[in-house]
């Protein structure tokens, strides 16, 4: 549904987006990650036709956004960053207006408005002026606007920003459910959302894609992936590390904690993946009193840090 090829955007001398290519099919939810200023919003603005690209192309449902903007925009719903909405209107007036401009008339429009009011829990503020809405409600109003015409393609720039935990949960559920039938791109700074919602994630840094894969695949790239944490009682730390270094699969062992006779160590495998390391360590440690033994899955925030800030991530490790 969405095909982005070699997309670039130059602001003055700054390359905000620099050769980004990816595609999103129907039934996919693509998470868009990256540090502040990476170029996520700029990419989305080009996909939705707000900013003209400096280079490359975007096609939505087969329509090029520059050549056939109206057809492409018709297929798309867009929640811009910061969720702007006309402050001089009521929530109801605003939704009515966006439905009308999307070409919905008469009964179809009424139904569309009441559908999104229900989906986004806007009933209580329906006749309140947008200007006086709390941030979360304004966000929901703008989100409602983006799905009012039940589009095939959704572009959401930080859709859960400013929502309370319950609403965050609702919106994630909604995105996941809609993602079964639509093509969705959404950006976020909350890494759990990637796990909860995305079928695929892209990490973008300084305008370039630096990682692209399923959340599972990304996690594998963490140096933690497959690491085993072991806590034992009644042994000195040096004895534990010495013993673990004899296990063939182990690359490195670090002492995490050593207090009151409880020793916690972490062993990193030579090749990441599979649970063989945990097994081997369990056997090596069988004569000690094991309090805890578990295998790390790899953590997305780790991957995120090591990819987007390679230098500081190493220092911390």
């Amino acid at each position: 549904m969405i095909k982005v090829q070699n997309l670039a955007k130059v602001f003055g001398t700054k390359r905000a987006v620099d050769g980004v290519s990816f595609s999103v099919n129907r039934g996919e939810v693509l998470g868009f990650l990256g540090p502040n200023g990476a170029g996520k919003s700029t990419t989305m603005r080009m996909i939705t036709g707000f900013l003209p690209p400096s280079g490359g192309s975007v096609s939505v449902g087969g329509f090029d956004i520059v050549e056939h903007p109206i057809e492409a925009k018709r297929l798309m719903g867009y929640l811009p960053e910061n969720a702007p909405a006309y402050t001089d209107m009521t929530v109801y007036g605003f939704l009515n207006f966006t439905a009308e401009i999307r070409g919905l008339r008469g009964d179809a429009r009424k139904q569309a408005v009441s559908r999104v009011v229900e989906m986004c829990f806007l009933g209580a503020v329906l006749h309140q002026s947008v200007e006086t809405l709390s941030k979360g409600f304004r966000h929901r109003t703008c989100f409602a606007q983006s799905i009012i015409h039940d589009p095939d393609v959704l572009v959401l720039d930080e859709p859960t920003d400013g929502l309370d935990p319950n609403q965050k949960h609702e919106v994630r559920q909604l995105i996941r459910r809609m993602g079964e039938k639509k093509a969705i791109i959404f950006s976020t700074h909350i890494l759990e959302e990637v796990d909860a919602v995305c079928s695929r994630a892209i990490i973008i840094d300084r305008g370039r894609i630096v990682a692209n894969g399923t959340p599972q695949e990304l996690r594998q790239r963490s140096e933690w992936a497959g690491a085993v944490t072991l806590r034992v009682k009644g042994v000195v730390a040096s004895a534990v590390t010495a013993k673990l270094y004899q296990v063939p699969l182990v690359k490195k062992v670090t002492v995490v904690d050593d207090k009151d006779g409880h020793v916690t160590v972490r062993a990193f495998p030579k090749s990441s993946g599979n649970g063989a390391l945990a097994q081997a360590i369990g056997e090596a440690a069988h004569e000690w009193q094991i309090e805890q033994l578990h295998s790390e899955e790899g953590r997305l925030d780790d991957v995120f840090r090591s990819i987007t800030m390679p230098d500081t991530a190493k220092e911390a490790a």
Binding site: F11, Y78, N82, A85, D88, M89, E100, I101, R102
Partner: protein
């Protein structure tokens, strides 16, 4: 067909926006007070001993509009940019032209309403004497066209900035030039410098082109002048909106 529907949707929204803020009412009241005051007291309506509206009433319009029209037009795009709704508007399945024309029409209709509300003045004149209502009508048409030209210029300045105040000041200055280019004291100065320039300079003045309407003459060249100012300004607005986004 469809495109006029989109234009009308935008126009309706903008019109509604005017009336949800007190600005619209304040504007209309000020406009009517100014009209009444200048016509009957400053314009010397009663001293003229004739029931004519044209001079005492319409002569002031270019000057009223100088302040009032930029105030009506300043929020059109500046507010949209400040709040960020321009990103919504321009990612809707409409063309930038439809949005520009829709917004312009809304403000122009609003000005038409303000102008129409001066009808008590016309009634008063008709009560006091026998004015030529045909002339009054053409003068109204001319006044509205002139307001449209000012307004289109305000559209440009509004698209240039996210600050309404800046927009107001710039369009006031530009409109002032359009008046002064045909203002007798200024023309006298130009005439002394270079008599050949006078025709050229006055051609660009709204005063010159408004003059005909006030005499009851509907000259196609005058109408064309105002319409081209509007067309050209709206086109410039579209260029500005595009280049702004091009970064």
């Amino acid at each position: 067909m469809n495109s006029w529907r989109n234009v009308w949707t935008i126009t309706k929204r903008e019109l509604a926006a005017y009336f949800t803020s007190p600005l619209a009412y304040v504007f209309i009241v000020i406009f009517l007070l100014l009209c009444g005051f200048f016509t009957f007291f400053v314009g010397g309506f009663f001293e003229r001993q004739e029931a004519s509206l044209v001079r005492p009433f319409f002569d002031w319009h270019p000057w009223f509009y100088l302040f009032l029209v930029p105030a009506v037009g300043m929020r059109l795009w500046a507010e949209e940019r400040r709040v960020g709704t321009i990103e919504l508007l321009l990612t809707m399945p409409i063309t930038a032209w439809q949005a520009i024309v829709g917004k312009f029409l809304a403000s122009w209709l609003f000005l038409a309403l303000a102008l129409a509300l001066t009808f008590p003045v016309v009634i008063t004149v008709n009560y006091l004497g026998r004015p030529d209502n045909g002339v009054i009508l053409t003068a109204y048409v001319g006044s509205w066209l002139m307001a449209g030209a000012y307004l289109a210029i305000s559209c440009i300045t509004s698209a240039l900035t996210r600050s309404q105040v800046v927009s107001f000041i710039i369009s006031l200055v530009v409109c002032l030039f359009l008046i002064l280019a045909g203002f007798p004291p200024v023309i006298n100065v130009i005439e002394q410098v270079s008599p050949k320039l006078v025709d050229l300079v006055t051609f660009f003045s709204v005063m010159t082109h408004f003059e005909g309407f006030q005499k009851g003459v509907l000259d196609s060249r005058d109408i064309l002048f105002f319409l081209s100012v509007i067309g050209f300004s709206l086109f410039t607005t579209s260029v500005i909106l595009r280049t702004h986004r091009a970064g």
